[in-house]
Symmetry: C2
Subunit: 465 residues, 2 copies
Amino acid sequence: MPENLRTSSARDPAGKSLRPVDLLLGDADWVVTCDDNMSLVPGGALAVDKGVVIEAGSTDDLCNRYIGGREESLQGCLLMPGLVNTHVHAAMSCFRGLGDDLPLNRWLHEVVFPAERKHAKAEMVYCGTLLSAVEMLLDGVTTFCDGYFFEREAARAARDSGIRAVLGQGILDFPSPDQPDPSQARATAEAFLQGFPEGEERLRPSLFCHAPYTCGPETLRWVKDLCRERGVLFQIHLSETASEVEVLTDEYGVRPAHYLDNLGILDEGTLCAHGVWLDAGEISLLAERGAGISHNVESNMKLASGIAPLPEMLRAGVRLGLGTDGCASNNDLDLFTEMDRVAKIHKAVSGDPTVCTAREILALATRGGASILGRDRETGSLEAGRRADMIALDLNQPHLVPLYDPVSHLVYAAKGSDVRHVWIDGALVVRDREVLAVDVDKVMRDVSNLAESIAAGRPSHERES
Amino acid sequence: MPENLRTSSARDPAGKSLRPVDLLLGDADWVVTCDDNMSLVPGGALAVDKGVVIEAGSTDDLCNRYIGGREESLQGCLLMPGLVNTHVHAAMSCFRGLGDDLPLNRWLHEVVFPAERKHAKAEMVYCGTLLSAVEMLLDGVTTFCDGYFFEREAARAARDSGIRAVLGQGILDFPSPDQPDPSQARATAEAFLQGFPEGEERLRPSLFCHAPYTCGPETLRWVKDLCRERGVLFQIHLSETASEVEVLTDEYGVRPAHYLDNLGILDEGTLCAHGVWLDAGEISLLAERGAGISHNVESNMKLASGIAPLPEMLRAGVRLGLGTDGCASNNDLDLFTEMDRVAKIHKAVSGDPTVCTAREILALATRGGASILGRDRETGSLEAGRRADMIALDLNQPHLVPLYDPVSHLVYAAKGSDVRHVWIDGALVVRDREVLAVDVDKVMRDVSNLAESIAAGRPSHERES
């Protein structure tokens, strides 16, 4: 990035009383703020100080009011807030592409569960999460929300990469990779929260009850109480498949969202992943309670789980974000291509090309996602006071030419690979597509080595048939 | 690409009787041949001579039987045939992102048609097609099938880029950008075929009747007769929207595929784009006649046209390929992300995760596409005797690690941006993501300049509302 913002006499700092800031980025072809109005600034600039956004505006204007400790030109780039991936099992990158095109039950019981029983260990969680963090940073995600086992290792990986994250320790009423004795789940959860390093603003702990069909009402209650007490996010998979909804409705006499509400689970501190099979009453209830929904359409498509009623949830005012789900069912973590799919599939199934506009979907992938993680004061837009998490996309590429509307391009034409620079808390973490804090070759080698033993455990007929 | 295939004594050429070939590529992590059995070769190599594939096999084996005029290592890469994009309006890259999220009628009548009336001229067709050719080459497409106006200019752009193409001159019973007087359409078509340069094996002419609702039976008949006479591909849009099917069925008393069949249009030399609203009888008919269908799911999703019955067409044995459609309704030409969407959406809408496997979809994007263009003797696989159109993807990237199954990655994880090198007729056309024959910056500038005047013609409220 060349340091040449003061290219005209109009921007000459001499004789002006300028406010010093740590960083002044300017001359971006577009700044997409993702503020309340989704405002766009052509020829835009951003002033950042002590890791915080001070102001977004035109480059001429900001050059006449600020002087940067560093000043850099983003000519040819689009500057926007980093994306927020609200539902990931990051460690599962180790299982990327392990068993595609299978019925859900065979995929779970013959591929995923056996692989997890044998291989989901502390080392795998660290390596897999670090690989996912690197992939997400390179694709422009600056905040993700995770749920898995050995979650302290996931936190360590997130910390090493520099990404912002919410780390959810998984809880089940059955033996799990890091808790063979479910009666000890509470102790594990409390130890996880207790041991979570304080003073690390980028990382926040969370508890993740796997689902209402794997955690009984007792478990759901104590976990939610513990989350309330500690002020951390409660996560749960909700109504991903039609069959689980049938089973739960039979068992409890009400549909799953009402069941959770009867237990006192649904409030603004709860994030429900998927929400594919929600009826109108459940949608109203979720909107009323303020619980968040992570919409994971690619994973739902690949596993043929169904298509969540996003247009209906948007209309009802449900708090919404986007998520990729884990790599075992997607098979990547690119939230740009996810945006495209979200915008298109709901047009296709509703028969209405005006639903899920590019602007709405971009809002979900940024400010919406930050909100359902309870982190909208920190990230999700380039408004004054938010942490300076931002990404610059290289617009100077054939598939992004011509440009009539930057928001259209972000949703319908851009890919994660168009992201060139990434900042978190105002500091560069990716420069010219190089992740600065991580030895990426080593992470890829480590995961490839783990994958060799994972592949060795699979029935030999599985692939080559 | 380093020239270091002879790295072991086992591969020492001394004392062996080796067949000289122009090019020997080896040490690819995987060669994906896309032959009849979709065979995969780990540690693979490819021998190429005079622009033709001689043999694919293991690197050790080929090093012991061939000596290359050039020998190059593809360590860390996957080598496969170039993709075939069977339905594009390449010049429409000039309209990329012009009017998203609109009802189809408003999009056509308020955005596309006015823009075409004013701006679809020879210069736009040349520049837009060249931009699209560059985008496709960078995304690993080595053959595309086009349909637009001023198609001689599209051919000139394809020639300048080095891509393989079928160029379809558009024909309508209404005034069109290059033919204000429809009674002269036949003269235009004949002149186009007549003037098409002979001896250019990479480029083939075609005629494109826009649709059965814009070309009457007379036109359809003479165009198909002319195509038969000259041995060129006949193209047509078929049953893209439910409303056109209703109108045609009312008018002719039979559904559109039967109507075309009654006119003698359906045979192996006919390519129908879209085929969204085909019933079981039409699917059987198409399979029986051997007519090709270009499946364009992303465009159909974005315009909410419906979802074509791909699993049913596959089961019936319809000849199939994939297409992106033009950039005005997609909004990019990346056939890798298109493959992902095709594989996933049919799982989602059928509720069956086993339909449209990665292997089936990859076959459609390569050998299937070549076949429906009538060019399967030339391209679409790395079998002996085909022209050496191939691409190398860089596997050494976080989102492609680990690798259990290369075909899974190609469909579910790879993006066009993973393509590193592209060869057509055995000659490099893209090296390390640089398009060798085209001044890409100039093309982007030229299209951006055209776009300024296109944008100036739009109602000012359209974007910023």
